[in-house]
């Protein structure tokens, strides 16, 4: 990608699409209308508050408890997805098996499914009288209506992020590299650690980060399985929803701005880190 851009800028006369100014203009307009304007609107909602009010809303003990629940659950869910997503991507890229195309297509199901449907289905499966829930209940694990349920819902809705970011990287990774490693006498683990993983790492981390940010904002799927007990299993999106129900738009926007800021910082951090990493690896 970086290479492609570079060669493009070296030969400015050879653009595939004409009208750079026009296309850039449209892109910027689109970004402004669809992304920046709503964000500005959100921040404007909080403009009527004093700093003190803003601070007291976002540091309310119940809201703070919800940050903790949300961040912990999202963290565990995205790390879980990192492991499982890598495995799935690996299987899909490296092996041929009947029904592979179907499995590949199924990977996107969590994106296609309305999140509320996912939530209801998951809570039905994991309730103590559901298929999975009844088995888990025998070993004393309760998932539905506990914080564990939040993790399940979050990892379900954000799994494709990891699979879909790792998959192309794996496809680009030539099997010859691994073979070379093996020929040079590396054990399987060493080859994975020294050859495969370094190339995979940026993609995997991006996938995990996307999965994490998505989980921070998930509402529909979580709400049906969380149980929503104050201080225990209330997520931040629910706190926003509650404020809206009270016609308290400023309060809702204040809490939303915290989530937004957290996601933005994380995404920027990942981008910067990735640029550094690529620079170090490829030396450009």
């Amino acid at each position: 990608m970086a290479l492609a851009l570079q060669s493009l800028s070296l030969n400015p006369g050879k653009r595939v699409l004409p009208g750079f100014a026009l296309s850039l203009g449209i892109s910027l307009l689109f970004i402004s209308l669809v992304l920046l304007l709503p964000v500005t609107g959100l921040l404007m909602q909080t403009a009527g508050m004093t700093w003190q009010e803003y601070w007291s809303v976002i540091t309310d003990p119940r809201v703070v408890a919800s940050y903790k629940v949300t961040v912990y659950a999202a963290l565990i869910a995205s790390l879980f997805n990192g492991v499982v997503g890598l495995l799935l991507a690996w299987v899909l890229v490296r092996y041929e098996f009947p029904g592979k195309r179907l499995v590949d297509a199924l990977m996107d199901l969590p994106f296609a499914l309305p999140t509320a449907v996912a939530g209801i289905t998951l809570s039905a499966l994991f309730a103590t009288n559901g298929w999975y829930g009844s088995l888990l209940a025998e070993v004393g694990i309760k998932v539905a209506y506990t914080p564990l349920g939040i993790i399940v819902a979050m990892s379900f809705t954000s799994l494709p992020f990891v699979v879909r970011t790792v998959q192309p990287v794996l496809e680009d990774l030539a099997a010859e590299d691994e073979e070379a490693g093996i020929t040079m006498g590396g054990s399987d683990l060493t080859v994975f650690r020294r050859v495969v993983f370094p190339s995979l790492w940026p993609g995997l981390l991006t996938g995990i980060a996307l999965s994490f940010t998505r989980s921070l904002g998930e509402f529909g799927a979580v709400i049906f399985i969380a149980g929503n007990m104050p201080y225990i299993s209330e997520i931040t999106s629910l706190m926003i929803f509650i404020r809206l129900q009270e016609f308290d738009y400023a309060g809702a926007s204040a809490i939303a701005s915290v989530v937004l800021l957290a996601s933005l910082i994380l995404l920027f951090a990942i981008n910067i880190w990735q640029a550094h990493y690529l620079h170090r690896i490829h030396g450009r």
Partner: protein
């Protein structure tokens, strides 16, 4: 069905070049914005009203329905949905139509009998087969081995009513001793197994997921659930004291006037008080004011002491501020 009819009338109108109106098409249209679980009720009432109106004026009326959470419905009307009448399950949601949009007069509750609430209900319990935990009244719900399910009072009117009912019970039981009342309601809240965001969600949790020993919801809902799941053997328990849950109705005057429906809208709501309509409402397990109908259905509706919002919290606006507002009583009692 209605959709099919609409599609048919559109198709026909197009076929006739939009000139001739089919003889069976409605002469008048009315939009009723209502709460979530009243679909069947108003489908049935609209049929009744159409017949009455036809007899009275000779005109065909088609009543269209919009259903949703009553706060969301109010919001939609303020933002421009041109509903002629509202039939809500929360007084505050009608009040906001006056406060935010001046769409109806402040004294809307005096426009119709019984404070503009043609029918009412109360909070009752749905318990599992044989009532194994012996749940009879609010103090049973505070017992350590009982777990209850009702929607979150922060997001649902249904949940607010339940909270107020328990609070009202405590006020009577502890003769106004605030420390004891708070302690009781705090314990009561701590026994909740799941806080769903709405009434139907709580029903699903209790019925389908098998969570909790008791579901607290409108008496009318409790009876519907029992009828819907006959094989589960659920039982209804009506506590000795509970909350008077009013179902306010009002003409959205500003909109009805613009739609030229003012008389029709008024007649639509007034008809709800007729004996026949009251019988229809009682058939849907709502309590009604008409004495004849009351006597007919006496067996279905056990007598209990109904506490009004005025008795419990002075007024709705006071209740919203003191109990449900940010850092209000509810927040304090749920704090750990």
């Amino acid at each position: 069905m209605k959709l099919v009819k609409n599609a048919k009338s559109i198709a026909l109108a197009l076929a006739l070049g939009l000139s001739a109106v089919p003889a069976w098409a409605a002469d008048q249209r009315l939009l009723n914005s209502s709460y979530d679980i009243s679909r069947e009720l108003f489908a049935s009432y609209n049929e009744h009203f159409a017949a009455v109106w036809k007899e009275k004026t000779g005109k065909n009326v088609e009543v269209r329905q919009s259903h949703g959470g009553s706060s969301r419905q109010a919001q939609a009307i303020i933002e421009g949905l041109r509903a002629d009448v509202v039939t809500f399950n929360q007084v505050t949601d009608v009040d906001i139509l006056h406060e935010r949009g001046r769409l109806l007069p402040e004294d809307w509750r005096e426009q119709l009998p019984n404070a503009s609430s043609p029918y009412y209900s109360t909070m009752a319990y749905l318990v599992r087969k044989g009532n194994p935990k012996g749940i009879q009244n609010w103090d049973d719900l505070a017992r350590a081995e009982v777990s209850s399910v009702f929607p979150n009072p922060k997001t649902s009117g249904n949940g607010r009513y339940t909270y107020l009912a328990a609070y009202g019970y405590a006020q009577k039981a502890f003769a106004g001793d605030e420390a004891q009342i708070d302690e009781f309601v705090k314990t009561f809240l701590s026994r909740v197994a799941v806080f769903d965001t709405g009434g139907r969600g709580a029903t699903t949790t209790f019925v389908e997921r098998g969570i909790g020993d008791v579901l607290i919801t409108f008496e009318s809902e409790v009876n519907n659930i029992i009828a819907e799941y006959p094989d589960q053997g659920f039982e209804v328990v009506v506590p000795k004291v509970s909350f008077l849950a009013e179902f306010p109705v009002a003409v959205v005057e500003r909109h009805a006037q613009r739609n030229g429906n003012l008389d029709l809208a008024r007649a639509y709501l007034e008809e709800l008080y007729s004996e026949e309509a009251q019988r229809l409402l009682a058939g849907f397990s709502y309590r009604v004011h008409n004495e004849v109908v009351q006597a007919e259905f006496a067996e279905q509706f056990p007598e209990l002491e109904l506490l009004t919002i005025e008795e419990i919290a002075g007024s709705w606006s006071n209740a919203m501020e003191v109990h449900f507002g940010n850092n209000g009583k509810l927040d304090q009692l749920q704090r750990r």
